[in-house]
């Protein structure tokens, strides 16, 4: 694993560890690009707090700011870092222990 991919995944997991940032990402995923003001209207958080989190998410490459006047800048979700993080989760989710247990059970039943 290139260290850069680990860095990308680490930023994704750090971003997702915070409930406010999860709520912002979920709102952008379900509703599409939005301004900090739009998000403040939908989430129980101040616009200032949202702007702070959006800055952090943009730094991590998880959202990107579209061109626009200040306060009317729309943020949109970027999926590429999520896909890097997903391959780590996939390794954890393979669960060969359960599968091999099922194989042994199947052969015992069949015997």
């Amino acid at each position: 694993m290139p260290p850069d991919a680990e860095a990308v995944a680490e930023q994704v997991f750090a971003a997702l560890a915070d409930p406010t940032r999860r709520a912002i990402l979920a709102a952008l995923a379900s509703g599409g690009p939005a301004t900090a003001t739009d998000l403040a209207g939908r989430l129980p958080i101040t616009r200032q707090a949202i702007a702070k989190h959006l800055g952090l998410l943009a730094g991590a490459g998880l959202v990107t700011a579209e061109r626009g006047e200040r306060r009317r800048v729309r943020y949109r979700l970027r999926s590429a870092p999520m896909q890097v993080a997903q391959q780590f989760l996939a390794a954890l989710a393979r669960d060969w222990d359960t599968r091999l247990g099922a194989l042994a059970d199947h052969l015992d039943r069949d015997a």
């Binding site: 995944a9 391959q87 989760l89 390794a91 222990d97 194989l103 042994a104």
Partner: protein, 145 residues
């Protein structure tokens, strides 16, 4: 932070290699313990597929067939988009152990990245739904004129 590129397990199974081989390499065997439904064309390069109730399907490709000791296939990485080129390689090795079988499974390739994934992960260029929807809107606008 260290993530596995490779998963390895060895289990002792109280059945001879021929029986374990059949459970691993036939549609009937695979459907009994692995998928809910399975199909397999058992030759290198042959397609195989498993599906689970709930709609998830894995398209596999048989890579190694050395009866009754080695069976290998590639399959997609769960959770990645359907068109993602990354696949992991799964290899089962069967060794006689007394009256039973020592079965080893190795799955490798979780840490691979497609050529442009790293660049994409940082790049400011966004695509996906926003772009697709933009193209649809442009198409409809043009058609309406």
């Amino acid at each position: 932070m260290a993530f596995p590129d490779r998963i390895e397990r060895t289990v002792e199974i109280a059945h001879p290699p021929a029986k374990v081989w059949a459970a691993l390499t036939t549609a009937e065997g695979l459907a009994a313990w692995f998928g809910d439904e399975a199909a397999i064309d058992l030759r290198p390069g042959g397609p195989a597929r498993m599906s689970w109730t709930g709609g998830f399907t894995a398209e596999m490709r048989v890579e190694r067939v050395e009866e009754p000791t080695v069976f290998g296939f590639t399959w997609p990485i769960y959770g990645l988009p359907e068109d993602d080129p990354r696949r992991t390689y799964v290899e089962f090795t069967l060794e006689p152990a007394g009256a039973g079988t020592r079965l080893t499974v190795v799955e490798s390739g979780f840490a691979q990245l497609p050529g442009d994934a790293y660049r994409k992960a940082y790049d400011g260029n966004t695509d996906g739904w926003a772009k697709e929807l933009g193209e649809l809107v442009a198409y409809l606008d043009a058609a309406g004129r």
